[in-house]
Assembly symmetry: C2
Homo-oligomer: 349 residues x 2
Amino acid sequence: MSTDSGRFPLRLNIPGAVVEMRHGSGGRSMSQLIEEIFLKHFDNELLRAANDQAAFNVSTGRMVMSTDGYVISPLFFPGGDIGSLSVHGTINDVAMSGARPLYLSAGFILEEGFPMADLEKIVISMAHAAHDASVPIVTGDTKVVNRGKGDGVFITTTGIGIVPHNVMISSEQAQPGDAILVSGTIGDHGIAIMANRENLDFETTIKSDSAALHTLVADMVTAAPAIHCLRDPTRGGLATVLNELAYQSHVGMKLDEQMIPVKPAVQALCELLGLDPLYVACEGRLVCICAQQDASRILEAMRAHPLGSEAAIIGEVIEDTHGFVQMETCFGGNRVVDWLAGEPLPRIC
Amino acid sequence: MSTDSGRFPLRLNIPGAVVEMRHGSGGRSMSQLIEEIFLKHFDNELLRAANDQAAFNVSTGRMVMSTDGYVISPLFFPGGDIGSLSVHGTINDVAMSGARPLYLSAGFILEEGFPMADLEKIVISMAHAAHDASVPIVTGDTKVVNRGKGDGVFITTTGIGIVPHNVMISSEQAQPGDAILVSGTIGDHGIAIMANRENLDFETTIKSDSAALHTLVADMVTAAPAIHCLRDPTRGGLATVLNELAYQSHVGMKLDEQMIPVKPAVQALCELLGLDPLYVACEGRLVCICAQQDASRILEAMRAHPLGSEAAIIGEVIEDTHGFVQMETCFGGNRVVDWLAGEPLPRIC
């Protein structure tokens, strides 16, 4: 749909413009914002139909639906921005069921006064992330709140996907004896954000690991369809995800600290900031729990994928009705890895 | 899932509590908020599975997906609140394709310090609206932003639905000669909000028309599956929706002001506030465009439904490549009903 010059006498002057209340009014200004920023960059047939909903054909099967809000601060960070994160994060939540993600929706809550150029940058980043993942953004919504009642941009994305018929992954399926795998180094995302906020410059800049994991999951599921659990360790980090899985499966877990991959720079910054990498968010990693006999095949499939090259087996599921997660430390001790209780890393996603 | 007292030593003290940053951390506090407020009230099997996504079976067909953010202020108003509105509004966007809505997701962005009792009130209202509509909320997300970076609660809901195989409703299908119908009085929602904000008390309190329209749509589609366009006149009101449909269908429209149902109290408050009811949002009304020969059958079906008892034929589609919407006024004159340009009613939904 090309911009109809009769309808919008002047094009949006993106470099100089800011978001105004009228851009959320439902009227001509909103229509122009949608055409000149959202439609232009997201650009796909379903979105262009410009109904209040997207329509597409589905085949009989098991479908999943997932939603996530993104309120990260700062909006732009090493390795990504709120736009790419909002695409990756929701694709990952869909993919953690073993599903092939099909479509995304995106809802924007904009603060009056937000620079239009920053909005376009975010939208372009979302468009690239969606294109690279082959998961189009097919419908959306824009609201504007008064200055001081929001924080630039909040984005809520929802994804749907279809699960292969032989796959049944769910968080209550961990069994004593199962292997626990992680797809790569932990804590990169959270530390990249914190270092950016605190203006901590290290020898090398730590980048967010933000990435869409659905092709990695597809390779894993092909290698061994009987995966028991998959979860991406975002807020609350690896420790929280393992506690959730232990709780939901009524089992315990025993981790080997030496086997958990952490980048030296991440480890160093964690020490500086008084953080434990086990509780620091990732946005492009996954935890997999599977039967021991499947573990090496899955590990091999992970390592063969660019997003799983540092995958490792980090522990095993044990019997424990209390759902405790324990860890043998590098020093040979043993400690309980509890749920995250407070909030050391606000607005990390 | 009953609350495990070992996991949360103290239950949430809802009357005294407020939302804190830790409720968005992904850790134990968030888990408790989810169990003791969201799971408790939304209560369904899919949500209880407590994965990061909901899974369900679908059959081959045409599916629709729609998303909407809700930033209404005030959060509670005569006839509803942000919770019921966020369920009705998205069900309606799905239903405007003729689809039967299946499931909803809900993403919450909470401001630190928001009273937990108000959050529960909103969640209970959403739960009732979803239950009454038979469209369960099957997955969700919660984020918390710092005090002063949000405005109490923002909610983004996404809905999916299945379109009956003989229905094909879309906004570019209006044809010259078609009839234009509206399902009831216009402007009630917007005026209820504005009167509430301005503390205007009239003889009778004007209530929002907020309602889920999917059963009305189902009755209309049964009466005449060949409906051309359906749209709910929310932000920007009836005038904006008709301009959108005229633009997308490359036609003009001719309205008869006398036939447009407006409550006398709404008309009076519009005059007091300097508003034109044609531009005031509804949240439980729809506009239908159909062939003349289907109009009386559809009107009859609408009037037989409690949400369409005041339905009326308000005009017809005419040939006009400029997409103008014209109206014959009560005084016998003729005027152009343009798009809404500014933002007279901010944060109306």
